[in-house]
Structures are given as C-alpha cells and as structure tokens.
Symmetry: C2
C-alpha cells in the first residue's frame, strides 16, 4: 500500500495517538464518542482519548498549515486506531487504516487520481479483474433526486437516504414498509426510486430537477477513467450513498465480488469543508480510508495474502568455529552491496542449520568451507529447488541480487 501511494507523490504523515477528547466530541460520530472511545484523564488533568479514527487529527494538522503548504496537498498515513468494540469477524479493538487524502483540487481530476490509487492498490496485491468492483456516485445527484425529483423536505431526504444505504441488507418488503410513510405519493414515487437506482449517467438526465452540473462532472470523470483503461473495474452506480455527513461531491465504495464476502472493502469521497472547524480558509479535499481487517478478509477470500517467506534475505550457516571470522567478513561485504544476510553465530551440523534456515522461511543458503575460502568461491543452495551451485566470490553479489529479487 505504501509503495503505491508513494508512487503518486504522496507524503507520509503521522499524528499523536492521544488527542484531546474534545476533538472527537466535535468531529466523530455519536456512537464512537459515547461508546467506543478509550478516553481518560491524564496526570495533568487533561481529558484525552486514544485516536479512534485519523480524520480529526488530519483536519487539525492541515488547518494549522493550510497557508504554508503547496497545493495540491497529497498526504497519507497508516495509523493504528482503537475502538472499544465487540471483537469479531472484520472487527478488532486495534486496527490499522491507510488514509489517503488530496487537498486543493476542485477539478474532477482529483477524483481520477484517488480512484486510480484505490484501484492500483488492489492490482498491486494481485487482485484479478472481476474480484472487486468500485462503484461511484455523487452527492449532488442524490440530493437533487431526493429534494427536486421527489420534492422531499430535508429531514425526509435524510431518512430516505439512510434507508437506501441499508436497502441491500433488508428484504424488498421491509424496505417498502419503511419507506412508504416517508413519501407523499408512494405509488408514484417508489417506481421513480427503483428507476433512479438503476440509472446510468445518461438516463439520469431525464429526472426532473436533477443536478446537471454533477452529472457533467461524473461524465468527465468516466471519460478519463476510460483513457486510463480502468473503466471496467470502476462503474457509476447511483445507489452508492455512504453514511457520513461530511461528503459533498463524488463518493465511492470498493466491493468484494466474492459471494461469501460481498461487502464494502473501503470507500471515500469529496468533502469541501473538512478543516472548517479549525480554520476560516476554504479547502476542498477528497480521500479514502482502508482498514486492514476487512482488507485481509478480501485477500484471504481470493488467495492473495502475500508470501511472507523471507526470500529477500540469504542465510549463512557456520560449520566450524574457526570459520566464523570469514563468515563475518563475507556477510559484511554482502551487506555493503545492499544484500540482506542472516548468519548463524554458533557452529553446528549442516542438517540442523538447514532446518533452522527452513524454519525461518529462507530460500537461499550460502555454504562457506575451508576449500571454498581457499578457492575464493561459495556454494549457493536453493532450498526450494534443491539445486546447489559453485559461485566465484566476485560474482556473488550480482548473482544474489538476481536470485533474491527475481
């Protein structure tokens, strides 16, 4: 994840794990503040809390530097976050979350980049086409549909929006039963809602009062995604709602297509007033958060968990005490060439030392005996294939670089 985000020129930031309780009281949802915070009073009588999310810290930090920072501001972080929740599937009390944010770009190209990053991360883990789907919508489209096409007042708009968000999780009957009392003319409006949820950017134009500016924004966005060749994985879907109040423009969610884990993996969107609590400056932004626990379920479901064997490091056993200075010197030389080397520190039998190498997850082992030292060569064994070759010392660094990286 870090490699992908760095490749887009993002800079890594971090904040303290302890923040003032008031920061979360002002910025976080009620459930977090009331029930999930690890908060306490410190020895200096300050009411503090361990961070349950990174966004309030980000808003505070960006607001403090907004006039000094060159735009666009591209920041990311991979903080650990704590919530007092019931641990279970997809949920732990401590989890890690990639946060990617881009500030200061009003154009749809900010969306292009953020969606490209969201997609590139999945590809970097080897996720094949069809294993995930990124769905994009726009708050302007939803709001104009609810407020103008359906003529709903604000409170009812919000209630309907919340229902649309949970529609996929309840039966059609339950959905209709809950939504009917919120509509003026359900028999006429319900078919409109179903039609809305299945619309394309083009067919949305037919709805009365729909936000044509937002539609135009989405159209330009999808044009560029096509230029980049990623229009298949990323589709427009007006049924995407996202619960948070602070989104003001494009919103998106990444879904696992595995039928046993059909859930939202991560998502984000545009917010135009994130720093408003801390600054009078206006600063538009767009970002997303990606939690490690749900992401790991995705990787496991598609058999994509990275191989954590240490194939990037070479292991050198020590067969005889007397050879130890030579092993030391060889290891030192290889490290100076940028090669990672673990050596044994006590002499022992070959078989046992190979067992150690295997248990530690190594693939390549270097044997250095008296005859090899005399001939200025080593034996390089590949534990995976069982092959063993004699390598002249001079060629060893380049040979190892090929093997360990290749």
């Amino acid at each position: 994840m870090r490699e992908v985000v760095l490749s887009f020129g993002y800079q890594e930031y971090d904040g303290p794990i302890l923040e003032s309780f008031d920061l979360y009281k002002a910025k976080s949802g009620e459930e977090i503040v009331q029930r999930q915070l690890y908060d306490f009073t410190d020895k200096g009588d300050r009411h503090v809390a361990i961070r349950p999310e990174m966004t309030p810290t980000l808003a505070r930090m960006v607001a403090g530097q907004v006039r000094n920072l060159a735009k666009p501001i591209r920041w990311f972080s991979i903080p650990n976050l704590w919530r007092y929740e019931q641990p279970g599937k997809g949920r732990l009390r401590e989890h890690w979350q990639l946060n990617v944010d881009l500030f200061g770009v009003a154009s749809y190209r900010a969306e292009v980049e953020i969606l490209l990053i969201a997609d590139s991360i999945l590809k970097r883990f080897g996720a094949p086409d069809g294993s995930y789907q990124i769905k994009v919508s726009h708050r302007g489209i939803l709001d104009s549909f609810l407020g103008k096409s359906l003529s709903l007042p604000k409170e009812k708009s919000q209630a309907v929006s919340k229902l649309l968000d949970k529609k996929a999780k309840i039966s059609r009957e339950a959905f209709e039963e809950e939504i009917r009392p919120l509509l003026n003319d359900p028999d006429k409006q319900l078919p409109l809602i179903y039609s809305y949820l299945e619309s394309t950017i083009d067919s949305l134009e037919n709805f009365d009062g729909i936000d044509v500016e937002a539609l135009g924004f989405a159209r330009k966005l999808f044009y560029d995604l096509k230029v980049l060749g990623i229009e298949k994985q990323i589709t427009f879907d007006p049924s995407i709602i996202r619960g948070f109040d602070y989104y003001t423009g494009c919103i998106f969610e990444v879904f696992d297509t595995n039928p046993e884990n059909r859930r939202s993996l991560y998502g984000g969107g545009r917010y135009d007033n994130l720093i408003g609590l801390f600054s009078n400056d206006q600063l538009t932004g767009i970002g997303f958060g990606l939690g490690d626990v749900t992401f790991r379920s995705f990787l496991e479901g598609h058999n994509l968990v990275p191989n954590l064997n240490r194939n990037d490091t070479v292991f050198i056993p020590v067969m005889e005490e007397l050879l130890f200075p030579e092993v030391l010197k060889l290891a030192d030389l290889l490290r100076k060439e940028g090669i990672k080397v673990e050596t044994m520190l006590e002499a022992g039998k070959v078989g046992k030392q190979i067992q150690t190498a295997e248990k530690k997850g190594y693939r390549y082992v270097i044997f250095l005996g008296e005859s090899e030292i005399a001939k200025k060569e080593v034996q390089l064994k590949d534990l995976q294939s069982g092959e063993q070759h004699i390598i002249p010392r001079n060629n060893l660094p380049s040979k190892l670089k090929d093997s360990l990286l290749g």
Copy 2:
C-alpha cells in the same frame, strides 16, 4: 535504521500500544510506574497503560513463542512510547525508539553482531570517525571487582556501582565524599577504584579475584571487532555501568564526542533472564534501545540530519487542460516502471508550477507539451543545476532511475 537492521536478517515485530498495567508494575522501574505511566481503566474495567517502553511487551511475546521460534531469534521494532515527563531538551512525552534484540546465542558473537549493528547505524547516517565512541564493559568484571577485589557485601556493591555510574556528572570531591562511607578502608580502596576505572582488559588481570572468564569473553569479542576493522570506534572501558538491574553480561554505551553534547546516545547489553517472569524456559539475549530524540540531537550536532528533499520523485506540471490525458498516461507508464511521480491536476502558468515543485522539495521536473508529444520526447529539467535536456520517451524510465537514485 530499518535498512541497517533488516540487512542483518532481523524481523520487525510490533505489539499493542495498550498493555495491562500489571505488566509494567512487574517489569518497569518504580519511577515509570509511579509517576510516568499513562494508565487508566477501560470500558471493560481493565487497568491498562500506554506502553512507556517496549521490553516488557517483547519479553511477554518471546516467552509465549519461545519453543516455536527458530534460534537465533532476531527481532526489532520501532515503537512509539509514552511517558508523562516534563518535556524538555532530549525529552518528549511521546518518542520513538528502535529496539534490537538477539536471543538464543550464548557466544560472544552475539555481542559482535549487536555492536556491529550499533556501529553500522551511525555509519549509515554518515557519522564520521571520531564523532562517537562505543564503550564496552562486562557486568561479571564489575561484580567481581566490587565483590572480590574490594570485598564489598552485595548492598554496598550496588550503592558503589550507582555512584560509579554518576561519577562523570559530579565533582571528584563530591564523589569521594559519597563513596568513603561505603568502603571499609577508603584510603586503600579508593586508589584501587581509580586504577580499575582506567584499566585495560590486560591490566585487569592483576586485580585479586577478578572474573577471568568475563575477561576472556571480552578479549575474544575485541579480537573479532578487530577482524571487522571497527576496533577504533569500539573500546573497552570498565567505567561503563548502565543502571538497569537486568543486565548480566556485556554492557555498552554509545557516546557523542561533541563537547557540547557529551552524553550517552544509546546503549544495551546482555540479559540472561528477560523472559523469566513469563516462562520457565531459559533464554539468553542481548539488545539495545535507541531513542529518536537524543539521536536527533546527535545528528544535528554533527550536521548529519538527512536531506528530506524529495529527490526520489519527479514532478510533472500541466500547462494546458487538453494535455491532461497525456500527462496521466505518462505518469501511469513511469509508475509501472517503479518511478514515483507527482503531477499537477489543474493547468497553470509554467513559472507558478515550477514554484510549486520547488516548494514541495522536488529537483526533477518533466515538461510535456504538444511538440514533445508529437516527437515522442519530453523535456527533463534539473531545478538544482538549471539544466534542461530533451529525452526520448523510450529512454525516460532508465534516465530517470539514474537521476532519481544517483
């Protein structure tokens, strides 16, 4: 730091930032537990604390897996730690600390490796010869000197040892005034103490009852340091004490030689019973901890703070809206070649975009205009030298790799 430790085959671990209060009550010093802990009762009525040091977590984790882990166990971590201290020079409430530990090797070669790592980290930051000094001693030597050469009983040994530790910070008069009441025959013993503090490994042999096994251990250690060519930076010095009770063998401390900052930068040593609280297994170990705050003072004092300019990333301005898809495609291509690229997302004047690149700390900028696109080339500008060259698109990835890494 991470690069150096990984090059020795160490594996990175982490633990939770919250641990049971009892863990620190059992393992940490009284000052930490009584006055410096960020402790509180969580929503499940557990008395917990934010970690003030990593060693108790390490001991708990290693003890839990000691029978499954292949020896030697080489682990490192760079945790953030919290102590409620008065912030000041070299002291912050949150700091980061590299912890490097090697378990399961009784031989002096564990000391060789740990000292080599401690030295390599300084070299990796460019610390020149003479900017630091690593001083090594052995608890066995100190204990035998106090207990046998001076015939002090245990309590007095400890008190004298504490005084020796603070000797450098107080006047000779104050030192003697404090130490005299602890000795049976000060007039005879004080000269012995001064002589001890200035001894070499060889001259220590002349003290009655000195631990010759420990002396032999130190001798073998320094022989190998000589083989590695690092005997200059690392010297034997029996005046090194280190306050912690849990050290049982070699101990060392790294000193800044800058006369304005003559302090201990970091240190460590061998402990034979770290996991004793959690396991009946015996496991010898050696390790050290390196805090970021004091280390930064060292780097600043010797003008070694790394250049944080982003010379590893290339910046692409966008001169005209219409060229944006071409910029996108070029950036995508370069990223696939492993090159980090930040692009502008809104068109603007050249001068202003170069200002942005400079403010963001970039050195290399790529210009892509209509004529360059037609000719399949780009302009590569080095903001540092002011030079600008035309590069064919095909050569760009390799040219950039040379520039960004070189």
